[in-house]
Symmetry: C2
Subunit: 355 residues, 2 copies
């Protein structure tokens, strides 16, 4: 293991988050100009809400996402099935946090040159995930674009559509005092791979198949753990109406995803000593001397989903989680935002240090 | 203009269609294994049909597509708005031919490095198209993936969801004797760009801004004509129930797209002398000495959409087309398939030569 050289930020890995944020704001403003009265805007934002008829059932929830550069790690060891499943799980989680049951999924797979064997692996991963979740892989497109994609490279994109009863749309009423239950992730899921790859392959100079004693696995095995799908455990909770909100911890980590489900007058207080950060994240942190703040807004740090639950329902929710053998930790609570907080911006306040 | 050198086929442009077809069959088989009873399979295939409730309203129609390498031409002259509109129009056409009204659209834009100005141009094109069509640009994702995309390259993908009454799903009952009305395209739309680019920039050695007297424009201007959206003219026809089928002429040309809406016992007879092939296509044909057959299964040849209409409704349909100032030609008719035709494979029989 190399000595710490310098602190690595996400921007050093070629992804400029500030620029990306500025672009996002501009896009949102443009997109908003197309909204008809059927678009239910401004609620959460993991999935997009569309009411087929004004004020009536059903409400469709949709989301589109790519699998990102996890693909590059998959390609290095020829493990394509995992990214096929990942994109389905990622999309399903994104609409589940708005209360939606997934209905159907469409994929887009593009590369410099279609390799049928690779494509089939990706598809097999998608199909297996779809079958398990009873989601129809209803359509898709494959494109061969030499020159657009670097030789041997590909992109995998998914689009999901689900449905929710209007009265069960999340986030619901989130209040100070609500508990934050963090559900365990299975690894990096599908976020932070540009930085993780830089840390492993450039800073540490490791190969995908290098064995890392600390991780009890190779680098690729550690990085290619599947993105956990939380829908099976969320489903009974959504049906009972026991959740006030849920946040899918993806790009931006807890820092950016948790505030998305909080009302303006609330913040989240997260105690970092309430759960054991998995060794993979601690190892990555050390490789680049990455700051805790940067880690928390790049990786999920072991928490792939956060449920926001009223104290009076907490034990019931926890019973369901235990029945599903879902590892979880009470990582904090919703607090009233201090008046000195920046206006219009929800935030996460971290306390304690890694356990 | 260079002398004809040799016949250029699509495969020479780096896109292998036979391999792509083999992959598609494999994918379809895999995807089919995920279908629930809510998926209405085996009807047409431009959009995917999903019934929210078994046997009841509404039926959702969805489609995903990329804008392809038209983007590369757009990038050469910095004209990104057109591809933004193109992907919306392409997707809307794809579900309109199944009878659907578009509801909402999601985009995915990925590149090696996000250029906010470029992104905004693409988005502006999408937004303008969405507003005109009253489609909500409800969600989207932008991704920065250095290493996956070649430097400066990007991909633009769209996913549309629309709705159709079950009784109005197209194709309906198509019968021998039905007329084929070809609606004029505005250019290449979004297909055949790998071949077109090869012909213009490699074979002919032209630059995007080279003026071509024959085209009365530069190469880029000719190639960047927007993909026409046929939904506004289809809408009244769909509402009246005057169409038996409609085919969006995209990749694969008339040859592959027309048969997709024909029943097993029918074929299409298309008379090539019934419409004037626009000069752009004739010019491309000559540049590479491309065969007529190859042209017909690569480009739309001036026909961007084909309506399949009963003879008794033909004059009514034509009146609507004229009222919308839509240029059209009766390009042929549906015929009973000869018993000697290949089993299970619908086909287009071409007669006559270019006019």
């Amino acid at each position: 293991m190399p000595a710490r050289s310098q602190s690595i930020r996400y921007a050093d890995a070629g992804v400029d988050r500030t620029r990306a944020d500025a672009v996002k704001v501009r896009i949102q403003k443009l997109a908003r100009s197309t909204f008809t009265h059927q678009v239910l805007a401004g609620i959460g934002g993991f999935g997009a809400l569309y009411a087929l008829e004004r004020g009536r059932q059903p409400v469709l929830v949709s989301s589109v996402d790519g699998v990102g550069t996890k693909l590059k790690v998959a390609a290095q060891v020829g493990a394509y099935q995992v990214v096929g499943a990942d994109i389905v799980h990622h999309c399903v989680n994104d609409i589940a946090v708005q209360g939606a049951a997934p209905l159907f999924f469409l994929d887009y797979i593009a590369s410099s040159r279609l390799d049928p064997a690779v494509l089939e692996q990706v598809l097999r991963g998608m199909v297996r995930a779809c079958r398990t979740l009873r989601v129809a892989l209803i359509g898709g497109e494959t494109a061969e674009m030499p020159g657009v994609y670097a030789p041997g490279e590909m992109d995998v994109v998914g689009c999901i559509v689900g449905v929710v009863e209007r009265s069960k749309i999340l986030p619901g009423r989130v209040r100070p005092g609500d508990r934050l239950l963090g559900l365990a992730s299975t690894g990096l899921h599908t976020n932070g791979y540009s930085l993780a790859r830089k840390l492993c392959f450039e800073v540490a100079g490791l190969a995908p198949r290098s064995h890392v004693p600390e991780l009890h696995s190779t680098v690729a095995e550690a990085l290619l753990q599947p993105h956990r799908c939380y829908y099976p455990v969320l489903k009974p909770l959504l049906e009972k109406g026991w959740l006030n909100a849920a946040a899918h911890i993806t790009g931006g980590g807890l820092t950016e995803n948790l505030p998305r489900v909080l009302p303006r007058n609330c913040a989240a207080e997260v105690h970092l000593d309430r759960w054991p950060v998995p060794v993979l994240f601690r190892w990555l942190e050390r490789l680049g001397g990455v700051s805790a703040g940067e880690m928390l807004r790049t990786f999920n740090m072991g928490i792939g989903m956060v449920l926001v639950v009223s104290p009076r329902l907490q034990s019931k929710v926890e019973r369901v989680l235990r029945r599903h053998r879902m590892k979880f930790h009470e990582i904090g609570e919703v607090i009233r935002k201090s008046r000195h907080g920046r206006e219009g911006r929800q935030s996460v306040r971290y306390g304690g240090g890694w356990r």
